[in-house]
Amino acid sequence: MSTTRRGVAVEAPLADDLFRLGHDDTTGRPRLHQQVAGLGLAAALLGELCLAGHVTVHSGLVAVVDRRPPTNALAHTVLDQLVGESQVRQLRMWLPFLAREAYDQVAHRLLRAGHLRSVRTRWSRRVVFQPADSTIAAWPEARLRYTLHGHREWDHSDMVLAGLVAATGLAEQILWGFHGDMRRWFLSLTDWLPAPLAELVAHTEAAVGNAVLTHRT
C-alpha cells in the first residue's frame, strides 16, 4: 500500500508488514514469542479481509459480508475457511484457530513473493527465513516512525498495524526515541479506527494477555 524509497510500489498486505516488524530486518531473527506472533498474524490476516470489505466484526463476532474471492491467495484461503465454518462466529475462537498456521502461511506468502529466502543455520541445520532485501524488510518500521513524526497521514491499514504492534508488545520497536504526546498518540491510534477494526485490535490484545494468563505452569 506504499512505496519504498526506490519508488517501487510494494503491495504490502497487513500481515506481511507485521511479519516484517516481528523479525530483524537483516538476520530474520524473530522478535516475538511464537504464540504471540501467531495471534498477531492471525489478526492481521483477518484485518486484511476487514480492510478489503470481505468481513466485518461486531460484538466479538466475525461475519462474512462479501464472498467474492480476494485476489491474494492467502486472503482467499482464510476467507474460504471463514465461509466454510460459518457456524463458528466468535472472533476469540478464530484468532487462536488461525494462529496455529498463520505464521507459516504468511512466511510462505513472503517466500513466494521473493521477499524471504530460506537459509539453513550453521549449527542446528534448521531452516530459517531471512529477508531477501533488508530495505524492504525495514520499510514498515520506517514508515510507521515516519508517519508518527507527522510527515504522512495515517491510513486505516497503518493504524491497524500500529494497533497490532502495540497488542503484540512490539511498540518499543517503533517508539524508541519518541516521548510524551507522540507515544500517547501512537498507543491511542485505534480509538480513531472504525469499530470493526478497533474491536479486532482490542480482541487481539486480550487474546495475547489471556495466552499469558492461562499458560500451564
Binding site: H33, F97, H149, E153, W154, W192, G209, N210, L213, T217
Partner: protein
C-alpha cells in the same frame, strides 16, 4: 463457557482447538502440585503442632475445612461457567460485589499469595540445610540455599519455562505414595501399642485454639482454587473443572487428615508437640525412618524438596499472573501487563515478585530471624488467613451474583450451597481472628497477633480507595476492572462514525527539524 460450547460438534475449528486441551487428571496435577502435599504434611502440620500446641483438632480440622470447601466449590464452579476469567477469585468478587470490592480483593490476593510464596523460601532453606550437611558434608546458612532457590524461580519465571506436566504428575504421585506408605507404617506401629481414635472425636474442635488449626487446614488446601483458571483450557469446561476441583479437595482432605492423624498415633498425642518442637519437619521422616529404614527417608527428603520447589514456582507464577492481569486492566501501572517479547512471559510482574522475594530473604538473613517459624510459618499462616478471607468474600460474591443474574443451575448450586459456604467461612474467619495468638504461638499481647490479620483490611481499604480514585479519574480503566486481559475489549472506543477512508492527522504539527535515522531522512526526499 458459551464461547466453547456453541457451534456444531463437527466443526474443524472446535476439533483443532480441542486438540491440546486438558482433561481432569491434567488439571488435578497442576492444582495439587501447587497444594504441595508433602510440603504441607512435613512442614505445615509439624510446625503447626510445634507452634500452636494444639494437637487433637488437626486431623478433624482438615476434614471439616474440606467439607466447607467442597460446599464452597459448588457455587464456585457454577460461577466459573458464567465468568470466563483466568484471574479467578478477585474477578468473581468484582462480578458479585462490584468493582471497588474487586480491587480490594485483588490487593488482598496480591498480599496473600506473595506471603505464601516468600514463606516457602524459609521452608526450603531450613529443610535443605541439614540435608546438604548429611549428603555432601556442606554447611550452608539457610539463606544461601534460599537465594539459590530464589534465583532458580526468578529465571524460570522470566523464561516461562514449561514445567512439564508429566514430570509434575510423576512427582506428585510419588509424594502421595510416600505420604500413604509413611502413614500406614505409622498406624502399624502406634505408640503405646494401640491405635487411638481420640483425635477423631468431634469434641476436639471445641478445644481452645481450634480456630488456629482451621487456618492451618485452609493453608493446606491453598491451590485448590486454581482449577477454574484452566476452564478455557479444559476439554469440557462444564465437566472438567468441577470434577477436578471436587477431586482435588477430596484427595487433599483425605491425605492430610490421614497423615496428620497417623503421625499422632505413632508418636503419641501427648508427646507430639515436644517432638515437633525438637525435630521440626524432620519429625515425619524420623518417625518413618524407625520403621521403614533409611532408603524411605532419603526418598521422602528428596520429594520434600521437589515438593517445596514445585509449590514455590506455582505460587510465583500465581503472583505474576495476578499482577499481570491487574496491569492489563490498568489497575496497576500498565508496565506490569507487559510481556517479555521473546519469551511471552509476564516479565515485569515476574521480576516484581522476585524482587519481593529477594528483599524478604535478605531482610530475614540480616535480621537473623528464624526461617522456619518466623518466615515459613508466619508468612504461610498469614497467607493462609488471607486466602480464607478471599474465599469468604468470593462466597458472598457468588451469592450476590446469582441473586442478580438468575441462571439455569439448581437452587442448591446458586443459593443454598453458596450461603452455607459464606456462613461457614465467616465463622472460620471469626475463630481465626480470635485465636490468632495461638496460631502464631505468641503471647496474646504480642503486636504480631493483630499486625498480621490487620494487614488484609488495610490492603482492602487501600484497594477500595484506589478503585474510587479510578472511578473519578480513569473511567475507562474502571470499566475494565475484573476482566483481566479482556479489559482491552471493554475499552473499545465509542467513535462510531469514522469516515471509511479518511486519514487521521496527529494532534501535533509535523516536526520540521526532525533528525531521524538515515533511512528515515532519505524518505523525505
Amino acid at each position: 463457557m458459551s464461547r466453547l460450547s456453541s457451534g456444531g460438534p463437527t466443526s474443524n475449528v472446535h476439533t483443532a482447538l480441542a486438540a491440546g486441551r486438558l482433561g481432569v487428571p491434567a488439571v488435578m496435577f497442576f492444582v495439587l502440585s501447587a497444594a504441595a502435599p508433602l510440603t504441607v504434611v512435613a512442614g505445615v502440620v509439624t510446625t503447626g503442632y510445634a507452634v500452636t500446641g494444639v494437637v487433637a483438632a488437626m486431623p478433624l480440622a482438615f476434614l471439616v475445612v474440606g467439607a466447607v470447601l467442597a460446599v464452597f466449590s459448588v457455587g464456585y464452579v457454577a460461577m466459573a461457567r458464567r465468568v470466563a476469567n483466568a484471574g479467578a477469585l478477585y474477578s468473581y468478587v468484582t462480578h458479585g460485589l462490584g468493582r471497588p470490592a474487586g480491587v480490594a480483593a485483588a490487593w488482598m490476593a496480591l498480599l496473600a499469595y506473595n506471603a505464601l510464596q516468600v514463606g516457602l523460601y524459609g521452608a526450603i532453606g531450613a529443610a535443605a540445610a541439614p540435608l546438604l550437611h548429611d549428603w555432601a558434608g556442606l554447611t550452608l546458612p539457610w539463606w544461601a540455599i534460599a537465594l539459590v532457590a530464589w534465583a532458580v524461580v526468578a529465571v524460570l519465571g522470566l523464561l516461562r519455562v514449561d514445567l512439564n506436566g508429566r514430570v509434575l504428575a510423576v512427582l506428585l504421585c510419588a509424594e502421595l505414595a510416600v505420604i500413604a506408605v509413611y502413614s500406614v507404617a505409622n498406624l502399624a506401629h502406634p505408640a503405646g501399642g494401640t491405635v487411638s481414635l481420640a483425635t477423631s472425636s468431634p469434641t476436639n474442635l471445641a478445644v481452645p485454639g481450634a480456630g488456629a488449626v482451621l487456618v492451618l487446614a485452609v493453608l493446606g488446601y491453598v491451590g485448590f482454587e486454581g482449577a477454574v483458571v484452566f476452564s478455557e483450557e479444559s476439554r469440557n469446561p462444564a465437566r472438567t473443572v468441577p470434577a477436578a476441583t471436587y477431586a482435588s479437595v477430596a484427595v487433599i482432605g483425605i491425605t492430610y487428615a490421614l497423615a496428620s492423624w497417623a503421625m499422632t498415633v505413632a508418636v503419641g498425642a501427648d508427646r507430639i508437640v515436644d517432638a515437633s518442637r525438637e525435630l521440626g519437619p524432620e519429625l515425619l521422616f524420623t518417625v518413618a525412618g524407625i520403621h521403614l529404614g533409611t532408603t524411605a527417608v532419603h526418598i521422602g527428603h528428596a520429594l520434600f524438596l521437589t515438593s517445596v520447589a514445585a509449590a514455590m514456582i506455582a505460587f510465583h507464577n500465581a503472583c505474576a499472573r495476578y499482577t499481570f492481569a491487574l496491569g492489563r486492566e490498568g489497575v496497576l501501572p500498565k508496565v506490569f501487563g507487559r510481556t517479555g517479547r521473546r519469551t511471552g512471559a509476564p516479565a515485569i510482574a515476574s521480576l516484581t515478585q522476585s524482587a519481593i522475594g529477594l528483599t524478604v530473604i535478605v531482610g530475614y538473613a540480616v535480621a537473623g530471624l528464624d526461617p522456619l517459624v518466623q518466615l515459613f510459618f508466619y508468612a504461610g499462616t498469614g497467607g493462609g488467613f488471607g486466602v480464607l478471607l478471599l474465599l469468604t468474600l468470593a462466597a458472598l460474591a457468588i451469592v450476590a451474583h446469582f441473586i442478580r443474574r438468575p441462571s439455569l443451575d439448581t437452587t442448591w448450586q446458586t443459593r443454598y450451597a453458596p450461603i452455607i459456604a459464606t456462613v461457614a467461612l465467616a465463622v472460620m474467619v471469626v475463630l481465626a481472628v480470635a485465636n490468632f495468638a495461638t496460631l502464631l504461638g505468641v503471647d496474646p499481647t504480642s503486636p504480631l497477633r493483630w499486625a498480621i490479620p490487620a494487614a488484609y483490611p488495610t490492603a482492602a481499604l487501600l484497594g477500595l480507595a484506589w478503585a474510587l480514585v479510578l472511578r473519578q479519574t480513569r473511567p475507562d480503566v474502571y470499566a475494565g476492572i475484573g476482566l483481566g486481559a479482556d479489559a482491552a475489549t471493554a475499552r473499545t472506543p465509542a467513535v462510531a462514525d469514522v469516515p471509511a477512508a479518511v486519514a487521521v492527522k496527529p494532534p501535533y504539527p509535523a516536526n520540521p527539524s526532525y533528525h531521524g535515522r538515515a533511512g528515515d531522512r532519505q524518505e523525505r526526499q
